[in-house]
Amino acid sequence: MNLVELNQISKTYDTKVAVDALSLQIEAGKMFGLLGPNGAGKTSTIRMMIGITLPDSGSVTLFGQPFSRKDLPRVGYLPEERGLYKKMKVIDQLVFLGQLHGLDATQAKTRAHQWCERLQILDAIELKTEELSKGMQQKIQFISTLLHEPELIIMDEPFSGLDPVNTQLLQETLLELKNAGKAILFSTHRMDQVEKLCDSICLIDGGKAVLSGGMRELKSRYPRNHVVIDFEGDNSFVRHPVVAEYKAFAGHVEIRLRDGADAQDLLRAALQNAKIYKFELIEPSLEEIFIRTVGRRVDA
């Protein structure tokens, strides 16, 4: 079942078109990546999805019904711009946000304790928010998004500013939630994070969807024309006619093949002068797919 359906939504601010006739669907039990460079319209799209702003045209369907505010307690939203009350105690803050999402105070308190324990910040629960490190504040914000057990979880750049250990912890938590049947929308300009986590994506640029679909299906549309070779010996094979471009390191090269070229030809040439430890034909990264589709880099 589709928990979210955006149908041709558009939004214009004064003269700037933020979102242009965008459509997408998010299924329950799936992780969905909303990708695009900064300013592509990701946050504007999310805001319309949960009624912070209304689209100028097009329609939003949540949980199979036309958008209605009464469904908002079923949504958890972690905005890109994190915001917590600095002077408020962590527990009070979580209880307040839980109550806003329809929990009663006792329920909110119990769950806040459970979550803080799970994310290893139980010690901080009686502290004021301003006394916490940035990473800890991020976790509190993360918990506040999940406290009311939303069916649809929307996270705008959830890992920005987190160290690798906490990023791992949060990723695992998100995967668990996905397996428990929640739909997760995950918006980022960091393509590498999405590749591992998302089942399907929508790549937007200039407010328009430039690429969307299942991750596997999308990648299979592009030929595997990248080769990584670990070797010992002469690297003259990089000048073979099938090679379009290469990056050479000591005992390691990354090669992009010409369109229609056969990687086996390269393997044969390499074997003649070098000892091959690894020869891997890899699929293009999302970043490369983006570049191919849009004609420039994500951060350009």
């Binding site: 004064d14 805001r47 949960i50 912070i52 702003t53 209304l54 505010r69 908002l72 307690p73 949504v75 939203y77 905005p79 711009e81 994190r82 915001g83 917590l84 009350y85 600095k86 002077k87 408020m88 307040f96 946000l97 109550q99 806003l100 999402h101 914000q141 506040s144």
Partner: protein, 429 residues
């Protein structure tokens, strides 16, 4: 509604728990007391023992001046309310006849604090009025300069009366001031009024209104901007409507303000129940000429004024991105009320003049101007009713506009919007 109440509760609890709240609860009344007390204090100081000398080349005039100075100090009669003045401990000595050359000795006495000052009256032949000089270390602080002048004038009259054989009690009677009573028509009946009491009541109410509305209104703006800078808004907006956020904020800040005022009122009641209080202000509010009706309207105007200005403040707050920018629009909140305060004397003197009536019906000025008018006269019922209708309508209008600006503004960061941009926000859905 539930959202608005939750937000109001959070706003209230966090505010009341904060250090700033506790500090301002204590400091603000102290500041008020200091301002009001200053007058009383300086009066008390002036009431301390004073030794002065009247020096003149005319012994009769010097003696008469001494008499008049003492009479001016104690109050010649009751009409001016001078019976309330602190008991005089004014010692006036007469040195006469004295020549101008003797003044150096008197100067030395003033310098060595043997006396507080001396009044030098020099009568010159052919001149009806003497040349008068008061010499002291400070200014003429034991009496106002005008009263000292009056006393000298009276002394001249007394001297002239003595020349005509009128003396003693008879002269006292002739120099007695007329006792002028003032009466005020309230609700069709003339009742005794006391101009100075009425003034103090009006002054206190207008000042409290001004202060409370500006202070709590600015609190709302600061609170909006701080939520904006800490980016909490976006989290809240994911479940709560902007209108609920704003309503919650106004209710929360307003309730905190009322709590603070309740603490102050309770403190005043406790104080006035104590011995000290009974000395300071007998008869409670009535002593300040405040009637229960006025008090009721005061509360209503306070609430309307608060919501009017706080909504305005919330709307303005939403258009800026930094605390420092809040100051830029504070003048807009202050000006209309300041008009009321600046024209206070005129309003109290001419409470039914048409410009004053119009001003009292103009919603931004209504709370203060109407409270002032009510203490000066019985304002016609239709004017009170009309002012309430206009005020409620204006408050509703401001809430509507502010909530529209608010819902767009709180998501806007960066450059300050221009007025046409803000007007365009009103049409955003």
């Amino acid at each position: 509604m539930r959202e608005a109440l939750l937000i109001a509760k959070r706003e209230y609890v966090e505010r009341v728990r904060s250090k700033a709240f506790r500090i301002s609860t204590v400091l603000i009344p102290l500041a008020f007391a200091a301002v009001f007390g200053m007058g009383a204090f300086s009066g008390k100081m002036a009431g301390g023992a004073r030794n002065i000398v009247v020096a003149s080349n005319d012994p009769v005039l010097a003696q008469c001046t001494r008499t008049e100075l003492l009479r001016a100090r104690t109050g010649k009669n009751d009409a001016k309310g001078e019976q309330n003045a602190p008991p005089t401990q004014l010692h006036v000595e007469v040195e006469s006849p004295v020549a101008a050359s003797d003044l150096a000795a008197l100067d030395r006495q003033v310098g060595s604090k043997a006396i507080d000052g001396y009044l030098w009256l020099r009568v010159q032949p052919g001149q009806a009025v003497p040349e008068a000089t008061y010499v002291s270390r400070g200014s003429a602080d034991f009496l106002g300069a005008d009263k000292m002048q009056g006393a000298i004038g009276d002394a001249l009259v007394r001297e002239a009366l003595m020349d005509h054989g009128v003396a003693g009690a008879q002269a006292d009677d002739l120099l007695h001031d007329v006792d002028l009573k003032t009466r005020q028509v309230k609700n069709g009946k003339a009742v005794a009024s006391d101009a100075s009491k009425g003034f103090w009541g009006a002054y206190i109410m207008a000042f409290v209104l001004y202060f409370a509305v500006v202070f709590y209104g600015m609190n709302v703006a600061h609170s909006v901007v701080s939520e904006k800078t800490s980016r909490v808004f976006e989290v809240l907006l994911a479940t709560a409507k902007p209108e609920s956020l704003m309503a919650g904020k106004l209710l929360g800040v307003g309730a905190a303000g009322l709590t603070q005022m309740a603490v102050w009122i309770a403190a005043v009641l406790l104080l006035s129940a104590s011995a000290l209080g009974s000395e300071l202000g007998q008869g409670g509010l009535a002593a300040y000429g405040i009637t229960p009706l006025q008090l009721a309207f005061f509360v209503v105007y306070f609430l309307l004024g608060f919501f009017f200005y706080s909504a305005l403040s919330a709307g303005f707050g939403a258009t800026v991105s930094q605390e420092s920018e809040v100051q830029q629009f504070s003048m807009i909140l202050v000006m209309p009320q300041l008009v009321g305060l600046m024209l206070m004397v005129y309003i109290l003197g001419n409470p039914s003049a048409w410009p004053v009536v119009l001003l009292s019906l103009f919603p931004p000025c209504t709370p203060i101007v109407m409270c002032l008018r009510m203490s000066a006269m019985a304002v016609p019922w239709w004017q009170l009713a009309l002012s309430l209708v206009l005020m409620v309508a204006a408050t509703y209008g401001v809430l509507w506009v502010a909530s529209r600006i608010y819902r767009v503004g709180i998501l806007m960061y960066g450059k300050r919007p221009t007025l046409p941009e803000i007007l365009r926000w009103l049409s955003y859905s």
